[in-house]
């Protein structure tokens, strides 16, 4: 891995970064409040914008998780969408259990798709998901455990770089195929939808919208703080050292496998939580969320924003998704070409990403 030195931002740049972050948070925090204004008001923000904003925040959290692993430790996972989707499925299972007898078939316990597929009782791995804390725990535990197993097998065997990326692609692809199967007990092709409520709030209510939005914003800030805390500690410097010269770190007496596993699992847990907040806001989860393209797109957000900077990941997630929303309305067929072109252009002309534009530190 080449030593792409990412200089620590100088004093002025650090202030710029904080200002940009504060600006983003303030604008976002204002959205649900402006949504509550009467529709005739000039500053009124539509329900659609709040929902899309909340969705993008969960994307930004996913980008942050990728940046922690890729930007600092050099672990390029092209399967982070799988951790996001697993977190989403855990929350989806909770939401399905809350539907109760209000399903189309009116079965008191079984979700509609199980009745349709002839299930007689709830599979054992669905037990407990009617409890919100358990579902939230599983949204962290399952992605974390998967990252622990895949990471342990790969890092222990010193599989790095592009080989690791390919393995993670295969991981998310395999999960997609598995979740497509009806007999997995996760709704197959159709996944989960028709959710009714969460924590007693009807999902379509303004109250639920604002609550989920603020929960996402708080999770974004907590994740940012956690990633920043890791990046600024000696562990962060060990990770940068692993990124730039892995075997040298071993000769200094560090167990590289442990450090990579630690950061990979933390990253997967953050991605899982982001997925858990994504699903109630978009109202659906299906195996398409595991598609390899999703994971690659999330990596492009980070590359566009500027890797190894944390804030860059957030900026990238927002700006690429803004571009996507606009372009898929204007010229839907062009989106994938635009995405590919964007990645090439950023790599060639903006190697430090968007964040490089605002923190252009002189002389570095």
């Amino acid at each position: 891995m080449s030593a792409t030195a990412l200089p620590a931002p100088a004093g002025a740049a650090r202030i710029t970064i904080r200002l940009v972050l504060a600006g983003i948070v303030l604008v976002l925090a204002a959205l649900p409040i402006l949504n509550a204004l009467p529709e005739s008001h000039a500053l009124h923000v539509s329900d659609f914008i709040v929902t899309v904003g909340g969705k993008w925040i969960t994307y930004a959290i996913l980008a942050l998780a990728i940046d922690l692993a890729w930007g600092y430790a050099g672990i390029l996972s092209l399967g982070h969408g799988a951790f996001f989707a697993l977190g989403g499925y855990a929350m989806g299972m909770h939401l399905m259990r809350l539907i109760g007898p209000r399903g189309v078939y009116g079965h008191p316990v079984l979700p509609d798709f199980m009745v349709f597929l002839g299930y007689k009782e709830l599979p054992w791995y669905w037990l407990g998901f009617e409890f919100f804390p358990y579902a939230l725990f599983m949204a962290m535990f399952v992605p974390g455990l998967l990252a622990l197993i895949v990471g342990w097998l790969a890092f222990r065997s010193r599989i790095t770089g592009v080989y690791f990326s390919i393995i993670t692609q295969a991981m998310t692809y395999a999960l997609m195929l598995a979740f497509f199967r009806n007999d997995m007990g996760f709704g197959g092709n159709n996944g989960f939808t028709d959710f009714k409520e969460l924590l007693g709030m009807p999902l379509r209510s303004a109250n639920a919208r604002a609550t989920l939005f603020y929960a996402s914003l708080v999770l974004l800030l907590i994740s940012l703080w956690l990633c920043w805390r890791i990046a600024e500690s000696k562990l962060g410097r060990v990770l940068v050292a692993i990124r730039d010269a892995e075997s040298r770190v071993r000769f200094l007496g560090y167990d590289v496998t442990q450090h990579k596993l630690f950061v990979f699992v933390v990253s997967a847990v953050i991605a899982g939580l982001a997925g858990a907040l994504y699903v109630p806001q978009v109202g659906i989860i299906n195996p398409g969320e595991f598609s390899p393209g999703n994971s690659i797109e999330a990596v492009i957000w980070v590359a566009v924003g500027g890797r190894g900077t944390l804030l860059g990941a957030i900026l990238g997630a927002f700006s690429v998704n803004a571009l996507k929303t606009w372009l898929t309305t204007v010229a839907p067929d062009l989106w994938l070409f635009a995405l590919g072109g964007l990645f090439v252009a950023v790599t060639l002309f903006l190697p430090r990403g968007l964040i490089g534009l605002i923190t252009k530190a002189p002389g570095r």
Partner: protein
């Protein structure tokens, strides 16, 4: 053979390494005493770097015994061997260019190495003093805040030696420390290594015979993976076999 009386800190006996039929090391035996400074010379391909790889766990020997104090090094991985107290400076200086000189030394500093310990690590005043002391020792005190990527070649070599000192090893393996250095830098490095030896054992692999002479230590000559001669620099320079394979070329 070596004739060392005491208890060797490093003990290689009958070590062979075979890569696809090529014998990189051939029945090599070597003993290094506590506190000894030892120079190892030999033509290209003599097995000097392979020997370092075997000691530090990078390469598994095909046959033979490799012991550090009472530890069988052939069964341990790189990180474990490093933590036992064997530090290595590579032929090509390798450090972390994105980090500052201070941060490079801090990473090398002997301290708990686990992820959690690193996350909760707080730089104390005695750790800071040790880092500054080592930087002073290798002549980089004025460069602590500079990124390692901007150092000159000679300074990079010294930073590597500084990082070795931070690990507080009992045995230092130093691979070609003066390659590409000016005469003055070479002298400075010889003096530095002489100062370090005594409290620790130091094994230096080098091509530069003037530098080896300046070290004033016992010299081992390797050739085709085996020991050819051993003794003072004058002894080996007058050994006809050494003259034939190495110096006479």
């Amino acid at each position: 053979m070596s004739g060392g009386a005491g208890n060797p800190i490093l003990y290689l006996d009958g070590v062979s390494v075979v890569f696809d039929g090529f014998r990189a090391l051939n029945n090599l035996s070597l003993f290094v005493e506590q506190g000894e400074l030892r120079a190892i010379i030999g033509p290209n391909g003599a097995g000097k770097t392979t020997m370092m790889d075997v000691i530090t766990g990078k390469t598994q020997p095909t046959a033979g015994i490799v012991k550090f104090r009472d530890h069988d090094l052939t069964r341990l991985d790189e990180a474990t061997i490093a933590n036992l107290g064997i530090g290595r400076k590579f032929q090509k200086p390798t450090m972390f260019d994105a980090l500052t000189v201070f941060e490079n030394l801090e990473l090398a500093l002997k301290a708990p190495r686990g992820p959690w310990a690193c996350l909760t690590w707080i730089l104390g005043s005695d750790a800071r003093a040790r880092i500054e002391e080592a930087a002073e020792e290798v002549g980089l005190a004025a460069r602590l805040r500079d990124r390692a990527g901007v150092l000159s070649h000679g300074q990079r070599q010294w930073l590597e030696i500084g990082m070795l000192l931070m690990q507080d090893p009992e045995l230092l393996l130093v691979d070609e420390p003066v390659a590409g250095m000016t005469d003055q830098e070479t002298e400075h490095t010889a003096a530095l290594l002489r100062r370090i030896a005594g409290a620790r054992s130091v094994v230096v692999v080098e091509h530069d015979l003037e530098f080896v002479r300046a070290l004033g230590s016992k010299v081992t000559v390797l050739c085709e993976g085996s020991m050819l001669s051993e003794g003072s620099i004058d002894h080996v320079q007058n050994d006809p076999r050494v003259i034939e394979v190495y110096l006479g070329r």
